[in-house]
């Protein structure tokens, strides 16, 4: 599974992208954030305020309760500010 980070989430994690294989019990966006936060202090800092983090599963905006099992690409980022 490709995990992508954007904006300050990327800056806090310290990398733009990681290829990881979360265990089968990681089924939702929230569970994936829990699992990632346990990987390092930087990940923990990036995911400390979940309310300000949005997710896209296979490039589609997804709620924290959405499924990630089977996804190829999951991205984490703050609310968008383009335009």
């Amino acid at each position: 599974m490709n995990i992508l980070y954007f904006a300050w989430v990327r800056e806090k994690v310290g990398v733009a992208e990681e290829t990881l294989n979360p265990p089968a019990e990681v089924q939702t966006v929230t569970q994936l954030m829990d699992w990632l936060a346990a990987r390092s202090p930087k990940h923990a800092a990036a995911f400390s305020n979940r309310a300000s983090i949005r997710a896209a599963v296979d490039q589609v905006h997804s709620a924290h309760g959405a499924k990630v099992s089977g996804a190829k690409e999951v991205a984490f980022f703050p609310p968008v500010t383009g335009g």
Partner: protein, 156 residues
């Protein structure tokens, strides 16, 4: 339909002329240009100056998201054409960030679709602004007013 996410600057005049030229049978053309502001926050007089801006983008998803927004606009209004150009990378004050154009037989549809595209783009397109000024670099925070504007278009 012309949807582009690009790093290089674009020419507002050329984009507008090209869009109008390929839609000469549409009575109404509406365009919107979002330009990089040269001050922080909501107020020109109190905000500190901004020297440059970096627009972070999620390119694959940005293309897909803008195409989805254009399809949604075409489903809602009778449109002849849509163009969306959005930059990413480093921008200087005054440079255009986004260009949206709509063509329709009637001006009400052209205006509504153009404003809808901008409102949804502001809350859905995966771009993030980081402004650099005298006091350093700061990621721009999303505004509740943008969510409110986008929510006006939700179908009931």
């Amino acid at each position: 339909m012309d949807i582009r996410v690009q790093q290089g600057a674009f020419d507002i005049g050329a984009e507008t002329a090209a869009f109008a030229a390929r839609n000469t049978t549409s009575g109404a053309v509406c365009t919107f240009i979002g330009q990089m502001r040269d001050f922080r926050g909501a107020d020109k007089t109190s905000g500190e100056p901004i020297a440059s801006m970096e627009l972070d983008a999620y390119p694959g998803m940005a293309d897909k998201q803008l195409a989805d927004l254009a399809a949604e606009a075409q489903a809602r209004w009778p449109l002849d054409d849509i163009a969306i150009v959005h930059r990413f990378g480093v921008l200087k004050p005054g440079e255009p960030i986004v260009f949206v154009a709509t063509a329709s037989a009637h001006r009400g549809d052209a205006f509504a679709a153009c404003e809808f595209l901008m409102d949804w783009l502001k809350t859905k397109a995966p771009f993030w602004k980081k402004e650099t000024g005298p006091s350093g670099s700061v990621w721009v925070e999303a505004q509740a007013s943008d969510d409110a504007r986008a929510a006006r278009w939700k179908e009931t």
